[in-house]
Amino acid sequence: MFQYITRRLLALIPLVLVISALSFGLYHLAPGDPVKSMLPRELAANPAEVARVKAIYGLDQPLPVQYVRWLGQAVKGNLGYSLNSSESVMQKLGRAVPNSLKLSIIAFVVSTALAIILGVISATRRYSVFDQLATLFSFVGIAAPSFWIATLLVYIFAVKLKVLPATSMYTPGKPPEFWDGLLHMILPVTVMAIPQIASISRFVRSSLMDVLKADYIRTAKAKGLSERVMIFKHALRNSLIPVITIIGLDIPAFVSGAVIIERIFAWPGMGRVTVDAVFSNDYPVVMGANLLFAGLTVLGSLIADVLYAVADPRVKFS
């Protein structure tokens, strides 16, 4: 297994290289010139001024030269400076990633736990009132856009009932406190968790229903095992394999941040950093974020593969 993981990790290097070269190339194919975005309009219209600023940032070099330069620095851990703020790319990512992680990991734990409970009850009490309600919730949860859910919850809990804050990570002007932070987290975590609960619970339900039809479950039932042991010891573990795949592929999303949710709740995470960078043509930040997401996507699928073995002893690494 150790060998397997090492091999997969090594394979990650060429993959990330290809992805970085591709995104570098694609980025420069897209319309909009980073230098023109940096300059006020009357200067952006002046070719001499654009050339001057291009030279300052090395953007007058041929694309392959620029890429190799960027890569040379990136390998050393230097992703350059943001074009339109005084921060380095590493500083920017370094402060935004933890904020996004805080939101997404808590939402993930809450939603996975609730989704498994919901899915198991639905699968074992098929077509009961509970199952029907859970199905209804799932469809609404998947179909309703998160900005709508967010607006609704903010209206009810912040504007009308005034029990929860509508924006920020902490009350502005006060030193960060645990309870204050927790209170500020409730609405964004809920909005983030609802579609996750909705979709994962459907996977758990259908996957568990398939497993419950399997021969070994019938055998277990015939042996006279209690329903609880049968479901939690034998069936659930097997039914989680497809669910793990889904969750593994969700890992990069933990870090990429939820653009809309972070925006509505003024949460200073990665979603905002990347969208701001894309709109302002801040390409060092875009490249840095792409590199991070590419690495994490590959890592996420590796983690999912390793988890298969934990869930299913039949899976062997070779």
Binding site: S85, P172, G173
Partner: protein, 586 residues
């Protein structure tokens, strides 16, 4: 959306003057006061939580380009002169200014002004602030704002030559760096910017250039003793994120993308009230979503938000703890034309197009009445505005008559035709700007009524600007944010930087603009600009659409806000007079 912020930022940078977004006027302003009448009077204390759509980018005054950054530097730094709500300058760091022959500006500084680290501000700091813009390693965009100073323009040409040599590999980087430093030192020796003594600074211009006074008062004075050694890379100096100025507030902390905290400077007395602030702390909180901004004001999490026209009634009627202040913004929205295109080359045709569009309907429906139909370049809230110019009337019959007299006849499909060509064009604006998108649709419907076929197209902001700057455009909707100085050289002079946005040239306008730059007396300048405005309106270079209003919502715990001013601080122009009403509990 983000695009909108960029749009505002880019437009506000017009003419390199201070970033200006809002205006004020006693006539057009309205405030709904729901509190403060029982106030006891000012006491020191309290904190004000301001909200901004975007976070600041840098806090070095000569590097800022966006309103979020200059909002902060305005509190931390002081300029030589500042502007009141009527756009009249009053001395801030300067005691007075003597102007000789309209081209030698001698500023006498106040004595005893201290930077937040305790060091006294002197003439050297003023000289440093402006010469740093001429330094070879300066990365900001204000170089061209000061080309009127003796030796400055030549320095720019010298730099260009050295950079070209470097690019052609005639010299290496080290030689280029040395040549540029030599050129820079030679410029300093010419004495265009000169310290006469510790409290006197002199700027000498090549020839009279009235907009200079506004430019020199657009940048906060920076501490030479802290920044001189970092002038090679000001953008990444510690002071870019931890500024030290002389201003009404001292910098405390900056959590990026989240909150900037400023604290009252007890030694400051250079504002309207000539006394330190009453409010103890100012928090500048970034909330990127416009609706969330308003929600946070409504829930009491913050004390300020910009209110959109469609939320005006809700805040006015239902939100008891918020006072609204409405004032005319320092900007206008227009439909621009490619006048090289035969469709739009005739001013009578452009006049007919304007007359065919019900601009009042645009103000009433998309601005919900919170604005006014515009008639020409300029704004009613600046001293140079010509009040006698009225918008062209809305008269579709007359518009059609004009077009028919120019040879346009309705074809079988109801579209106007001339020499086999249909009157059909593409109207472009940037996506994400709801007001402009809606205005485009109204224009499309209006022109259809008289037989003109308009196709509306939305473009991403940067692509849109590139398109507007090209000859390919036909018509477009865009806006201008105006500066404190009315010089329209860049927009309407035949050699201006935005000439390609319309390709309109008029020797008379060129002559007047040049004359306006050389005239320093405000009353005389005003007459010149009024004449320019008249010509531009007669020629309908644009179809002027509307002036929008700014609506500021402020928690009614605070006593003192009046209406906005045209500086980038908007309603905060008299922040030194505000205080917390202690009778209110909120």
């Amino acid at each position: 959306m983000q695009t909108k912020r960029l749009a505002i930022g880019a437009l506000a940078a017009l003419l390199g003057t201070s970033l200006v977004l809002s205006g004020c006027s006693t006539k057009s302003s309205e405030s709904t006061d729901k509190g403060g009448e029982t106030a006891k009077g000012p006491t020191v204390g309290g904190e004000f939580i301001y909200t901004s759509i975007g976070d600041a980018k840098t806090l070095i005054p000569i590097l800022t380009q966006d309103t979020a950054s200059s909002f902060v530097t305005n509190f931390v730094y002081d300029t030589l002169f500042n502007y009141d709500e009527k756009l009249q300058p009053y001395p801030a760091l300067a005691e007075k200014v003597d102007i000789k022959d309209d081209k030698v500006y001698t500023f006498t500084l106040k004595k005893g002004v201290k930077f937040h680290d305790g060091v006294e501000l002197k003439a050297d700091d003023v000289v440093f602030t402006f010469t740093a813009i001429a330094h070879p390693k300066y990365t900001g965009v204000r170089f061209s704002s000061f080309t009127g100073i003796v030796g400055w323009e030549e320095l720019g040409k010298e730099y260009d030559k050295i950079r070209a040599d470097l690019k052609d590999k005639k010299i290496d980087q080290a030689a280029a760096d040395k040549a540029m430093m030599d050129a820079y030192n030679a410029f300093l020796a010419k004495g265009g910017i000169k310290k006469l003594d510790d409290y006197t600074v002199q700027f000498t211009l090549k020839e009279p250039f009235a907009p200079f006074f506004d430019s020199v008062n657009s940048y906060g004075i920076m501490p030479k003793h802290l920044l001189e050694s970092k002038v090679d890379d000001l953008a990444h100096a510690p002071e870019a994120t931890k500024p030290i100025g002389t201003g009404q507030m001292k910098f405390v902390s900056w959590v990026k993308d989240d909150t900037i905290t400023l604290e009252r400077n007890p030694d400051w007395k250079y504002g309207i009230a000539k006394a330190p602030l009453n409010i103890n702390k100012l928090l500048i909180k970034t909330i990127p979503d416009q609706n969330s901004n308003m929600v946070a004001l409504e829930t009491g999490e913050t004390d300020y938000a910009a209110i959109t026209p469609d939320n005006f009634d809700h805040f006015k009627n239902d939100v008891k703890h918020v006072n609204l202040f409405e004032y005319m913004a320092f900007s206008y929205t227009y439909m621009g034309y490619e006048t090289k295109n035969p469709l739009f080359s005739d001013k009578d045709v452009r006049r007919a197009l304007t007359m065919a569009i019900n601009r009042q309907q645009i103000v009433d429906t998309i601005l919900k009445g919170h604005g006014k139909v515009a008639a020409t370049h300029g704004t009613p809230v600046r001293w140079d505005f010509n009040p006698s110019i009225q918008p062209l009337p809305y008269d579709q019959a007359e518009a059609l008559k004009i077009l028919e007299s120019k040879g346009w006849k309705k074809g079988a499909d109801g579209i106007l035709e001339k020499d086999g060509q249909k009157f059909s064009f593409k109207l472009v604006t940037n996506n994400g700007n709801k007001l402009r998108e809606q205005a485009a649709v109204i224009i499309q419907q209006e022109l259809k009524k008289i037989g003109i076929d308009v196709k509306v197209e939305l473009m991403e902001w940067n692509a849109f600007l590139d398109f507007v700057d090209s000859d390919k455009k036909e018509a477009y909707i865009l806006g201008w944010s105006l500066g404190t100085d009315p010089d329209p050289y860049e927009i309407f002079h035949s050699k201006g930087g935005f000439q390609m946005d319309h390709h309109y040239t008029n020797p008379k306008v060129d002559e007047l603009i040049e004359k306006g730059r050389k005239t320093t007396k405000q009353e005389e300048r005003a007459k010149i600009y009024q004449e320019i405005q008249k010509i531009l309106a007669d020629d309908q270079v644009y179809t002027w659409l509307y002036f929008g209003n700014t609506i500021a919502g402020v928690n009614n715990r605070f006593v003192g806000p009046k209406t906005g001013s045209p500086s980038s601080v908007g309603i905060f122009w008299n922040f030194d007079q505000w205080y917390v009403n202690n009778n209110k509990t909120q």
